[in-house]
């Protein structure tokens, strides 16, 4: 692996290098035997940093759950399943927010999965390298644009566009028009989903591209030798070979969309009832935190932190899934070196 490749994309560099360190047994032995003061200082630094990191993670979870506990005690299970959020009557149910979160993320995924995979295929399979490399960088740079700028752009450019052109057009499509009932507000669930798709796209493309490029040349050549066209090679050999990586791309992009708060808060309109169509206003978990947090006091503040806990649980589950998919790819990819975990060295020098 070259350094340039690691630095190629922020999203990518977070997920590469999963294989454990290829350290030889001798080195590890010497490292462990060190008893001299300087060795102790060095070990102290390493252990200290690690403990700080672990402490931060543990504190994050504990303090959020701690602060949310009054709300959970107040509402019990209805906190998750009830759809009414009314601070005046002290009713706190996150049901609507959870459903809106799932709908916006789901619709966003419906847009980004085909576009993302096709873009990654164009970049890694069809275009010549000289053209693909700068275009890949461009797509990666989209990830660098802050979400607040994307959100504001959506508010000032996409809201009028949706209101004037897109939504009336969608309402004319037969069959589908029932999905798009109601007034053309511009802002709403559909717009939030589209903007989430824009935000998911760089993650999706970068990870899918890496996965497609990881498929071995032998697999491609075998498919070509069987008489496959270029497309058939991609369809039958490359995409199935990269399946685990593509699943990882989808889940990690999904994690990003679930947790996006500010941009969604600007665009989704803030409806508190169950959405009757994709054009309706809504409130996701993240946007609810942004909208309610500042005014909230007492149990309501605790309830808003409870929303954060639910959001954290969702994204953690999704991200664990994504990481497992990534690791699955690393250990089962044909032709890849066997991970160090499985080498007999592990037995010789237990870490």
């Amino acid at each position: 692996m070259t350094i340039g490749k690691e630095g190629g994309a922020l999203e990518r560099s977070e997920h590469e290098g999963i294989l454990p360190a290829p350290r030889s047994g001798v080195a590890a032995l010497i490292t462990r035997r060190s008893r001299r003061p300087k060795g102790r200082i060095y070990a102290g630094i390493r252990w200290g940093g690690t403990l700080v990191f672990v402490a931060v993670v543990v504190t994050l979870v504990v303090s959020l759950v701690w602060q949310a506990a009054p709300a959970f005690r107040h509402s019990g299970f209805s906190f998750i399943f009830n759809g009414t959020w009314n601070p005046d009557t002290e009713q706190f149910g996150a049901g609507v927010f959870i459903i809106d979160t799932l709908i916006t993320t789901g619709v966003g995924l419906l847009i980004v999965i085909p576009v993302g995979i096709a873009t990654a295929a164009a970049l890694s399979e069809f275009l010549p390298r000289r053209l693909a490399a700068p275009l890949s960088t461009c797509v990666d740079l989209l990830a660098a644009v802050p979400s607040i700028v994307v959100g504001l752009w959506g508010l000032l450019v996409l809201v009028p566009l949706f209101q004037r052109d897109v939504e009336p057009f969608l309402q004319k499509i037969p069959l589908l028009k029932h999905l798009f009932g109601g007034a053309d507000l511009g802002s709403g669930i559909l717009l939030a989903a589209v903007v989430l798709a824009v935000m998911m796209l760089p993650t999706m493309v970068a990870l899918t591209r890496t996965a497609l490029q990881g498929v071995s040349v032998a697999d491609r050549e075998a498919a070509l030798a069987l008489g496959g066209t270029r497309w058939q090679v991609v369809r039958r050999a490359v995409i199935p070979g990269a399946r685990s990586g593509i699943q990882a791309a989808i889940t990690l992009a999904m994690g990003r969309a679930l947790g996006e708060a500010i941009a969604v808060a600007l665009l989704i309109g803030g409806g508190l009832t169950l959405p009757h169509s994709l054009l309706a206003n809504g409130t996701t978990l993240g946007s609810a935190v942004v909208s309610f947090f500042s005014e909230a006091i007492g149990v309501q503040r605790s309830a808003v932190i409870g929303l954060v806990v639910i959001l954290l649980a969702f994204t953690t589950v999704v991200n664990i899934g994504g990481q497992l998919f990534l690791r699955g790819r690393a250990s089962t990819r044909r032709g890849a070196p066997v991970p160090d975990d499985f080498s007999p060295d592990t037995e010789v020098v237990p870490a």
Partner: protein
């Protein structure tokens, strides 16, 4: 068999009449031609569809950058960089508060997160087994934690007990956000150090600390610099962690223990106002912010490419 092989030309067959042979030959030719046509059609069709998808993917980037430049460039002036914000309907003013705030908040976050991240990745890089694998996994999952959750966490940890918003609490939130990214980027960079180099240094009698400093860090420095720059670029554009911690301010503030303004916060407050002047300020701020981030990320990439080309 012989008939469908396509090599059979005009020799008469024992089994079939010339007429039947010709008929079969036509069938085969037709079939192969349509198959070929279909293969070409599907192949070209899907390839073009992929190109279209690529163009669709590039539209938002181009539109975003173009719009930001178009709206923001009018707002740029000397006063924009040197003056504090003014209330709506008052002409003039600038976002010096937000620029200095972002620099202080992100700078403090980086000063904390970079060394800690380096220590953790030094811990991880030559370690196998369950503990290291778990920490690695936690870091990977942590890098997907929503930034709003980190902001609320910093609020719950510091603002609740102290009853006070402060820029340094925002720094803490951003440091938590950057840490997992830095850990993984550093470790990946350190992995590129060849085993032989470690072993050679150890064989010369160097202590592990000496190996880490003179061999590992020196060899992997370009990768580490790149990874850290990208982490800073990510943190600089985050709004959610600062919303409930640094809070925002309209006075020039360099004391991190006071509420501070930051560029993303300024974009959020000004951009959502129905006031042309404030919107121009917001877009000019967005332009400066995006320029900051693009310089950092492109700089990181260029540096990585340069370092790779000139490595050893």
């Amino acid at each position: 068999m012989k008939v469908t092989s396509g090599t059979a030309r005009d020799e008469p067959s024992d089994l079939l009449s010339a007429e039947a042979m010709a008929r079969r030959r036509d069938v085969v030719r037709h079939a192969s031609r349509t198959t070929l046509r279909r293969r070409r059609l599907v192949g070209n069709g899907t390839r073009i569809a992929c190109y279209v998808a690529l163009i669709i993917a590039l539209i938002p980037l181009v539109a975003l950058i173009a719009y930001t430049i178009e709206r923001g460039v009018h707002g740029l002036s000397v006063a924009f960089f040197t003056q504090a914000p003014v209330p709506a309907f008052v002409p003039g003013g600038g976002v010096s508060t937000a620029i200095i705030g972002t620099l202080i908040i992100v700078g403090l976050a980086a000063v904390v997160a970079i060394p800690v991240g380096l220590a953790v990745s030094l811990f991880l890089v030559d370690r196998r087994g369950k503990l290291a694998a778990t920490i690695r996994f936690v870091a990977d999952v942590m890098s997907g934690v929503p930034s709003i959750a980190i902001g609320v966490f910093a609020y719950a940890l510091f603002v609740v007990p102290s009853h006070h918003y402060a820029g340094i609490i925002g720094s803490f939130a951003l440091a938590v956000l950057m840490l997992p990214i830095i850990i993984r980027a550093d470790e990946v960079a350190m992995r590129t150090v060849p085993d032989d180099l470690w072993d050679a240094a150890l064989a010369l009698g160097a202590r592990p600390s000496r190996v880490a400093r003179s061999v590992v860090l020196r060899t992997s420095l370009p990768g580490i610099v790149t990874g850290n720059l990208l982490a800073v670029a990510r943190a600089i554009g985050e709004t959610a962690p600062l919303l409930f911690t640094a809070l925002g301010s309209t006075v020039f503030e360099t004391n991190p223990f006071q509420p501070m303004d930051a560029m993303p916060l300024r974009i959020l407050t000004d951009g959502t106002q129905a006031n042309a002047h404030l919107q121009t300020v917001a877009w000019a701020t967005a332009l400066v912010l995006v320029a900051f981030i693009l310089v950092l990320s492109i700089g990181a990439r260029t540096f990585a490419a340069y370092a790779t080309r000139h490595a050893r």
